[in-house]
Structures are given as structure tokens and as C-alpha cells.
């Protein structure tokens, strides 16, 4: 059995807003084994990205209230660490691949320089601003082979040209590759990928995801893919968490979760998908309830076809059913 890379227990994140307190993430638990790829899927606004940000410690507070619950990364309880200690982990041990390749690179710096800056910040994190500027040219020179190797690793053609380009000179796919290269450059043990490549064309995105999966497998990196695209999650992960309105509805192996969904929400989601084989997608009635006054009990009950009285009162706890963990009163 693998060792545990990340475990989140009873994490709740609330936001203070003008309309009241929004309970955006409500008591979720999830874990990632070392070397495992895990998908976190759900629809817009279900708390996927917020969960990632909490892991990385980049939630802006305020408006976020301090999260409650535990986030344990390789034996270290992240919420107890000092800001500085958390900053140390960022990029080096927990890296993030942002969603938008177009806006995630600095438009005023050449790829070579911003990539080297990133590596410098990993290596000399307590350097003062003055000594940074004094030694920068030297360091960039030192780190250039490392940058080259990292870019080579993500199969970028004509690396010399890329290194000396500004982001606007690169295509979307190339920018996404640079970002993946940056995330993987210092061999992190956990990568958080927030909708990687959604902005790219399908043909390009397919190639990028293949590349990412290969790299992650090769190096035994754990990865959390956050995505709303069930097919992308199905093809790139071993296990999937389905999130609904800030709660985890169901988790199970990627091969079986969509073939044999247990939770009514997962089943509804699957019936909504347009398929290449044709057929009529069905959809789910209603829309996600707001987070200020979420329905008591299971948050899905107002849209659920199998709703029972119990669902409106009591929040279901996860139960183990046929290899899935399902939070639904239908099962017990």
C-alpha cells in the first residue's frame, strides 16, 4: 500500500459576504495516496477551486474565514504551519497548474527570465530584494540549463526560441506547456491542476493532457485534477471525487464510478452528458441552491428524484457501497 500524500479531514470553508456567511465548502474529507491521480469533479461553484486554494494556502482572507478542519500533507498539518513555512512548500513540494495559460505568465518578461525567477524563489527564498537584484543576472545564467531541461521535458520544440520569447509570441498550447514545465521543474510531490487546458482547442488539449499524465506517472507525482469535464477526469485519473454544492457526494475508481453511479447526483450528471453514441441527454431539474441558506440535511435533496423525509433533516455520512463511498440515505 502506498503512503498517504495528502489527507483533508472535515474541511469547511466559509466566506463573509454582504449577503451573509456563505458555507462554500462544507465538511469535506478526501485523501490522495503518493503517486495517485485523483479527480475532483463538479459543476461551477461547487467549491472545487476553493478546496485547492485552501490546500495551497492562497485563499484570500477576508473574505474567506479561517478554514476549519485538517489538511495534512506528508505528515505535516498545513493549517498549523506559519505563513513562511507554508510559502516554503509552495512550488517546491506542492505545485499548481493554473487554469488560464493566457494570463498566468508575466507578459513583460521573457520565458527564460520568469522561469529562472521561479527557480530562484525556490532556492533562495530568504534572499533580500537588494541581493536579488544584484545577483539576478548571475543566477539566471546559472539556472539556464535547468530551465532548458525543464522545457525539454514538456516536449517544447525549438527551446531556444521559446526561452527568448515573451508570452504573447507563444501559442496557447506552448504557454500551457511552459506552465506545466514550471510546475514540474523542482519535482514536487503533489501537483494541483485547476482545469488544465480548458482554454485550449480539443486537439491541443488532448496532447497536453497526455503529456501531463505521462510525466506524472513517470515521476510518481500525486496529482489532483480539478475539472468540470467528466470525460477528462475519466481518462486521466485513477479515482474520482464528485462534489456537489460544497459537499462530496461520491467517490470511487474512475473506471466504475460513471458506469455504476450510486449517488443520484452522479447518476443525474451522467444522464446529462451528450454522448457520441447519440441519445437524448436528460439533465437535472432545478439549479444549485445558494450557499447562504443551504437546504438542511443533504444539499442535493431539492433536486433529487429519490428524496425521502430523512434527506431533508439529516446530513448523510459516507457509506461504503460496492467500492464507492457514497453520502446518501438511499444506502443505509
Amino acid at each position: 500500500m502506498n503512503s498517504l500524500c495528502l489527507s483533508i479531514t472535515n474541511l469547511s470553508i466559509r466566506f463573509h459576504t454582504y449577503d451573509g456567511i456563505a458555507a462554500v465548502v462544507d465538511d469535506i474529507s478526501l485523501h490522495v495516496q503518493q503517486g495517485e491521480s485523483v479527480g475532483l469533479v463538479g459543476e461551477t461553484g461547487c467549491g472545487k477551486s476553493v478546496t485547492l486554494k485552501a490546500v495551497l494556502g492562497i485563499l484570500s482572507a477576508p473574505p474567506a474565514l479561517p478554514p476549519s478542519g485538517k489538511i495534512v500533507f506528508q505528515g505535516r498539518e498545513l493549517t498549523q504551519l506559519s505563513r513562511r513555512a507554508r510559502r516554503e512548500l509552495m512550488g517546491k513540494e506542492i505545485a499548481m497548474i493554473p487554469q488560464n495559460a493566457m494570463t498566468s505568465l508575466n507578459p513583460t518578461l521573457k520565458i527564460k527570465d520568469q522561469f529562472a525567477d521561479l527557480l530562484i524563489s525556490h532556492r533562495y527564498s530568504d534572499m533580500s530584494l537588494v541581493s536579488y537584484y544584484l545577483t539576478r543576472r548571475q543566477r539566471v545564467k546559472e539556472l539556464t540549463p535547468k530551465v532548458e531541461a525543464a522545457l525539454n521535458d514538456v516536449a517544447l520544440p525549438s527551446i531556444d526560441r521559446v526561452m527568448n520569447s515573451y508570452p504573447f509570441e507563444l501559442s496557447g498550447g506552448m504557454k500551457q506547456r511552459v506552465l506545466i514545465g514550471m510546475a514540474l521543474a523542482d519535482n514536487p510531490s503533489l501537483v494541483l491542476a485547476d482545469e488544465p487546458g480548458t482554454a485550449l482547442d480539443v486537439t491541443t488539449n488532448g496532447v497536453i493532457l497526455d503529456l501531463m499524465r505521462k510525466k506524472v506517472e513517470e515521476r510518481g507525482i500525486s496529482i489532483i485534477y480539478v475539472t468540470h469535464n467528466l470525460a477528462v477526469a475519466r481518462e486521466n485519473t485513477q479515482r474520482i471525487y464528485v462534489m456537489y454544492a460544497g459537499q462530496i457526494a461520491e467517490t470511487g475508481p474512475s473506471e466504475t464510478i460513471f458506469a455504476h453511479p450510486k449517488h443520484p447526483y452522479t447518476a443525474g450528471l451522467i444522464r446529462s452528458l451528450p454522448r457520441l453514441t447519440g441519445g437524448e441527454p436528460v439533465g437535472i431539474e432545478g439549479s444549485v441552491s445558494n450557499y447562504y441558506t443551504p437546504p438542511p440535511g443533504c444539499r442535493f435533496w431539492p433536486r433529487c428524484q429519490n428524496v425521502m423525509d430523512k434527506c431533508k433533516e439529516e446530513k448523510p455520512s459516507p457509506r461504503h457501497v460496492d467500492g464507492h463511498d457514497v453520502s446518501c440515505h438511499l444506502y443505509g
Binding site: 461551477t44 446529462s272 457520441l276 453514441t277 439533465g283
Partner: protein, 339 residues
């Protein structure tokens, strides 16, 4: 229902609602010191022939920058074509101007991808939907009110929504309002530009269901612009695959999915992520395209796909542009492999 304007002949004379012949849109690239020299053209849409039958859903698929949206805007005369003809219900509308073009707009409408940008945030749903009615002086104020209610009913929104502002609507509700507004003047033809790409899948299915039902109830025809092959499969009858302003393949939807012939269509299908096993059987082995989409301004000779094509035959592909040929009944392909 609103008044239907008849242009000349009776409606049932024509089998096709929209037909385009050699439709082109070139955007000049300006240069020189004063910006007055034309250095070349971006060939956004370059000789596209599409016949859309009445009551048909025709899909236009392709990647960003292939000219899908430009084509949609061209056939509705939102932008002017550089060359070619657009037959709307048998009449050439490519040269229409002024009031006659304005009157034509009652008969076709467009639904845009961006629901937020399509609705004025300062107006209530009631006024948003009544705007086209006021524009064309259809009915008195009270008659407009009942028409608005009727339209809301068509998209399955209750009349509680009449006095809401767009900010109080969810994404799916906004899209329903947009659809209701597009239907206000009783059009015959709608261009749906990525109508659901901003929506969640559970909502998307509902919106598609409404659009499909409306097609039957109101005898509408659609041009669906999308990059989602699953959506194309479940929603459309026929499809044209567009690559850099050119149609590379055109066939009934089922044929394109089961038997794609053009290397680009195959690459597109192979890159489609799927969830179910039975779908996986339809997806060819992933085709790796070496580079990304090239610049449509500079590629002038040969097949537009030749520099990325995994099945390139040789010099002929780079020098001679293949014709769109019917390789089997109703299945048109533009490729030297099928001559």
C-alpha cells in the same frame, strides 16, 4: 403569434431555408507607415457552401479561429460578405440593405455564447424580451405583455421572472431569457453560437431539450456552432467540419462520427475525451498533430491542413488544393486521399 412577412413566393416553394454559395469573408491586414497599405488578407471564411433544409439542425464544428462564428454572422448579415451569395428561403439576401434588410431580421436571429453579455443588466426580463417587439412595433403595449408571457412559457420560465433583473438569474435562466427574446418576432431560423458552452452539463441538457422542442413546435431550423462533438452528435442532423475557413468534410452527423474520412475530422474525433466504453469504440486512436493551427493569412497554396496532416501524400498536398468531392452519398470530403 407575430406577423410573418412573406417575401415574394410562398414559403413552401423552397426546400432549403438557407443556402450559401462560395461565401467568403476576407479581412484585410493593414500595414505601412500610415496603415493604408493592404499587406494581405485573413481568409476567415473562404468559399463555403452549406445547404440547410427547413426544420433541420445543421452543425458547424471546428477549433477556435476556423471561421465558425464569422460564418454564422455572415449568413445573418451581421457582417457583410466579401463574395458569394446567401439564399434565405430562396432569395439572395447578400446584397440587401437598409429597411428591407431590417425587415428580414424578423425572420432570423442569433443566440450568442455569452449569456451575461447578451442581456442589459439594467433592464428587467419583461423589457428585455419586449425590446424586439417594440423595435418592430408589434402590437400595443398590453398585447406585448401577453406575448412576453407566452414567450416565457415557451422556454418554461414562470411569470415570476418578469420583473427580475439579469443579475437575479442563474446561467441557465439567462440563456432561457435570451432564447425567449430571439423568438419574440417569430423567426424561422436561428444561429446558435455555442449556446451551452458557458453552462453546466445538467443545465445544458435542459436548454438543449427546450431548443429541440421549440424546433418541433415552431418549425424552426438551426445552425449550431460548436466545438463539442458529443453535443453535435446528440443535437444535429447534419454537420460540416470547418478548418481555416474551408469545409473539409460535410455529411449527416452519424456518418461523420462512425466513418470520418478527412484526416482532420479523424484527429478531432480522436482528441475527444469520452466517459463510456461504448463511446470509446467510436473514438479512433489518438492522432498526434505536430503543430498548432497555422495562420490563415499566410497559407495560400495547397490543402490548408497539409502542414499538420499525418497522412500527407507528398508534394501534391502542398501545391494543389483538393476539391470537396462526394465520396459516398451525401458524404463530401476535401482531401487528395479520396479522388
Amino acid at each position: 403569434m407575430s406577423v410573418v412577412i412573406c417575401m415574394g413566393d410562398a414559403d413552401d416553394m423552397n426546400e432549403y431555408i438557407v443556402e450559401t454559395h462560395n461565401l467568403k469573408k476576407y479581412y484585410p491586414i493593414k500595414g505601412g507607415i500610415l496603415g493604408n497599405k493592404t499587406l494581405g488578407y485573413v481568409r476567415a471564411v473562404d468559399g463555403v457552401d452549406i445547404p440547410i433544409r427547413k426544420n433541420e439542425i445543421y452543425a458547424l464544428v471546428g477549433e477556435s479561429g476556423c471561421g465558425k462564428t464569422t460564418f454564422g454572422k455572415l449568413i445573418l448579415r451581421i457582417i457583410d460578405p466579401t463574395d458569394g451569395t446567401i439564399l434565405f428561403d430562396g432569395h439572395d439576401i447578400s446584397k440587401e440593405t437598409g429597411e428591407s434588410l431590417r425587415q428580414l431580421r424578423r425572420r432570423f436571429q442569433m443566440i450568442f455564447q455569452d449569456t451575461v453579455g447578451s442581456l442589459n443588466p439594467k433592464k428587467r426580463v419583461k423589457d428585455l424580451i419586449a425590446a424586439p417587439l417594440r423595435n418592430f412595433n408589434v402590437g400595443k403595449a398590453d398585447g406585448q405583455g401577453s406575448r412576453v408571457r407566452e414567450l416565457l412559457d415557451l422556454v418554461r420560465l414562470s411569470s415570476d421572472y418578469l420583473y427580475r433583473y439579469p443579475s437575479g438569474l442563474s446561467g441557465g435562466e439567462k440563456q432561457r431569457v435570451v432564447i425567449a427574446r430571439a423568438l419574440a418576432l417569430g423567426p424561422e431560423f436561428l444561429v446558435l453560437d455555442e449556446p451551452t458552452s458557458a453552462l453546466d452539463v445538467s443545465i445544458q441538457a435542459k436548454i438543449l431539450g427546450i431548443l429541440k422542442k421549440l424546433r418541433e413546435e415552431l418549425a424552426l431550423s438551426y445552425l449550431l456552432i460548436t466545438h463539442d462533438l458529443g453535443l453535435m452528435r446528440t443535437f444535429s442532423d447534419k454537420v460540416a467540419v470547418l478548418y481555416l475557413g474551408r469545409i473539409v468534410e460535410r455529411a449527416p452527423t452519424d456518418t461523420v462520427i462512425r466513418n470520418p474520412l478527412h484526416p482532420y475530422s479523424i484527429a478531432l474525433l480522436s482528441a475527444t475525451p469520452v466517459v463510456f466504453e461504448e463511446e470509446r469504440r467510436l473514438v479512433p486512436k489518438r492522432v498526434l498533430l505536430t503543430s498548432e493551427i497555422s495562420d490563415s493569412a499566410h497559407k495560400l497554396s495547397g490543402c490548408r491542413f497539409h502542414d499538420r496532416c499525418p497522412k500527407k501524400l507528398g508534394i501534391i498536398c502542398a501545391e494543389e488544393e483538393p476539391d470537396l468531392l462526394e465520396v459516398e452519398t451525401n458524404h463530401f470530403v476535401r482531401c487528395h486521399l479520396f479522388r
